[in-house]
Symmetry: C2
Subunit: 434 residues, 2 copies
């Protein structure tokens, strides 16, 4: 049986999980795939820190060169996270002839093209299943299993922290602040949860998925982001009354030869598969022209789910499968004339949920609906609630669901309504799906 | 760019779909994977029949030898279905040096080991993603993406016809007969739906999944089957009252070093992902020791979803990935000492739903519960409904949910209760999940 040497960079949560599988399940994996995976080094910045870890001390080193020089190491697994020094380490390892496995979405979203090009030049591969959706094999699905399809849309819940908070708000009527504290207590949210709740983390993952699905180079900056950090419990309640659940949805969709991209709090119809994703789970819906509707669901983060994806990539690379797949991805890093542009707001259509705080006097509804009409926005339903105790007595919540409308016109209409004297800005505007 | 010759055996629903993708999407696939797939032959039994199909007549032949002799054909795709002559054709094609793609679950469930062994001997591969779950990449998930895991359970909705019927019964309170007619009208059920509704189709698919997940040879005959063909609308209603939805669930589960196997109508807790699978969709839940809970959802049958999986397998084989995967499956066809036995009923535990038709007189509940108690079955809840108009006036439905109980004891208890004078057999006994 062939033995394949592996080195890990990083012994944090995911690193320790991957090390545990490699050390404890070596025989089982060997029986299963016919290869013996040998963990030969774990590069840690401070070896003192990991004295009591499951990884024997002699395997630990703070010297990346040891990995580069060891001819028995065929696969290096980057689990440091962040852009630097992960980027430099991967370039060095590629030059030393190692194939790469990484879980680093931030790095791929920022430096993916550079790293991919370099790997192609050197005849090496980079596998990155663990960078999106934890243990959910969404990278394999898009780059292999659904290869016969023109993908028409990828949309999903890509951030478990936000989904945990939204689930708490939906099921227990909690405020954003209370739900966040609870998530922090239980370890589902970090002390500084900004990147999770403002949509950045989901946008980094979406950039990777959109590139795989549509072959276009997408950078995180090109993705419009509306996080959940200013979400009002009242909107969660009103959405529920209308038959919807609010989710932080990351969407990449083919629309008239361009790609619509967005990470936004979105109303999703209750009892559809995405609406039913609760707690810290992730789910990605992929629609293809042949396969139709598919959904991939699982834990989107956490030690062992992510380690499951990392070790699957190690196995794929050891067997030579990852290299064959990576070669097919080459086409996407070359300048591709057929690559699709990103859709501007005047080409994006959708239904919208609007929530205005309006003065409680005659003629106000007429003023607001007149502005909507002037922007070609027709109204599907209106709910005028009694004044909310959280708001000044003179304002009442006015909730409007639109029919299909153009995004750019909707933005202009809301801006104009916000400037009306009878309305207290900012108004809430969210997309509606399903 | 390398050109890879492909031959299809069969031009039925799935064959026509696969031909369409190969002919119409050849350029797109070439751009995506860097290979040109050339459809060179379609073997049909009666060429006259397909005069008006999308496949040009010169490509059609009724001579399998033409495919075997054509050195440009590297991949042959068997879409005839059934055991014979598909089995003989595949053996001949393997001997002619062709790699095989097949969607034939019945053949694999029956002759899988023979065909796999022969392919290994000849250094060829067999890819079979389309044999289970239509376009859902469940074979890739189990054999590649989740390879780092000890799978602990695979359970799912593997038959779209039954799920369509159950959804109609659940959502519209229809009887089995009415729901079946509707499914037949809409083309979701065949004129003779037996294999779909009695669990045979799902059992064939489960045999394949269980083999992949646990490495044990499983034949369809070893799988206990309780279809939906005698399901009473009343049970669908009672289950709903208790917070459950009835699904035809195929389950393979690791239990005390053995594998529990079953295809059975099962009570699944409402609002869980499997309970929410509606209509003709399929979904498979896979639990692994590292990845935790995952779910794969999509159209489990139909022309283009299945063709999507077939063409993905063709691409995988053309790139050489399928061969690498198939080599790792070798271990499972060799006699494996660590292969797990199939659990007998006295080692299976679970919760059960029981529905007795009992005489409406004092002491009956005591008689029934005494028998349950004697078999160590403790009761979680009882619902005694008023007499159902469909049943003789003297009988009332008695619905009991058990706590965890041993399957063998439950079977004995129900048999004993059915022999009581105060009970009208046969009683209903279903597993409860979640």
């Amino acid at each position: 049986m062939r033995t394949v040497g592996v080195a890990l960079l990083g012994l944090g949560t995911v690193g320790a999980g991957a090390a545990r599988i490699l050390l404890e399940q070596r025989d089982r994996i060997a029986r299963r795939v016919g290869l013996s995976l040998e963990l030969r080094h774990v590069v840690v910045r401070n070896p003192e820190k990991h004295r009591v870890s499951a990884v024997p001390l002699p395997l630990q080193t703070n010297d990346l060169e040891r990995v580069c020089r060891d001819p028995k190491v065929e696969i290096a697994v980057e689990l440091w996270g962040g852009v630097s020094p992960a980027r430099e380490a991967i370039l060095k390892l590629l030059e030393a002839g190692k194939d790469i496995v990484t879980a680093n979405k931030a790095l791929l979203a920022e430096c993916g093209p550079e790293l991919f090009d370099r790997a192609h030049q050197l005849g090496r591969s980079i596998a990155f299943e663990a960078s999106v959706g934890g243990g959910i094999p969404i990278i394999a699905a898009l780059s292999e299993s659904l290869a016969a399809n023109q993908i028409t849309s990828v949309s999903g819940i890509l951030n478990g922290t936000s989904n945990y908070i939204l689930t708490e708000m939906t099921e227990h009527g909690e405020s954003y602040a209370t739900a966040l504290s609870r998530a922090q207590e239980l370890g589902f949210a970090e002390l500084d949860p900004s990147l999770d709740v403002n949509g950045t983390d989901a946008a980094q993952k979406l950039a990777i998925l959109a590139q795989l699905a549509f072959g276009s180079r997408v950078s995180t900056n090109q993705i419009v982001r509306h996080g959940i950090d200013r979400l009002d419990a009242a909107d969660v309640r009103y959405a529920g009354e209308l038959g919807y659940t609010i989710k932080l949805l990351a969407t990449a969709k083919l629309t008239n030869d361009s790609i619509e991209l967005r990470v936004a709090r979105t109303l999703v119809r209750q009892h559809t598969p995405l609406a039913e994703v609760r707690g810290a789970y992730n789910a990605i819906r992929v629609v293809g022209d042949a396969v139709g509707d598919t959904l991939f669901y699982g834990r989107g983060a956490g030690q062992m789910p992510t380690a499951s994806a990392v070790v699957a990539d190690i196995i794929d690379t050891a067997l030579g499968r990852a290299q064959l797949t990576f070669r097919t991805l080459r086409l996407w890093t070359d300048p591709d004339e057929s690559a699709l542009p990103i859709a501007p707001p005047d080409q994006i259509h959708g239904r919208y949920y609007l929530h205005f705080q309006a003065e409680d006097r005659p003629g106000v509804l007429a003023q607001i609906t007149r502005v909507l009409g002037e922007h070609d926005i027709s109204i599907a339903s209106v709910i005028q609630h009694e004044a909310d105790e959280n708001h000044a007595a003179a304002a009442v919540p006015l909730v409007i669901m639109s029919h299909n409308a153009v995004e750019a016109k909707m933005q202009n209409a809301v801006q104009e309504i916000d400037s009306l004297q009878c309305v207290r800005p900012p108004s809430v505007c969210m997309r509606v799906e399903g």
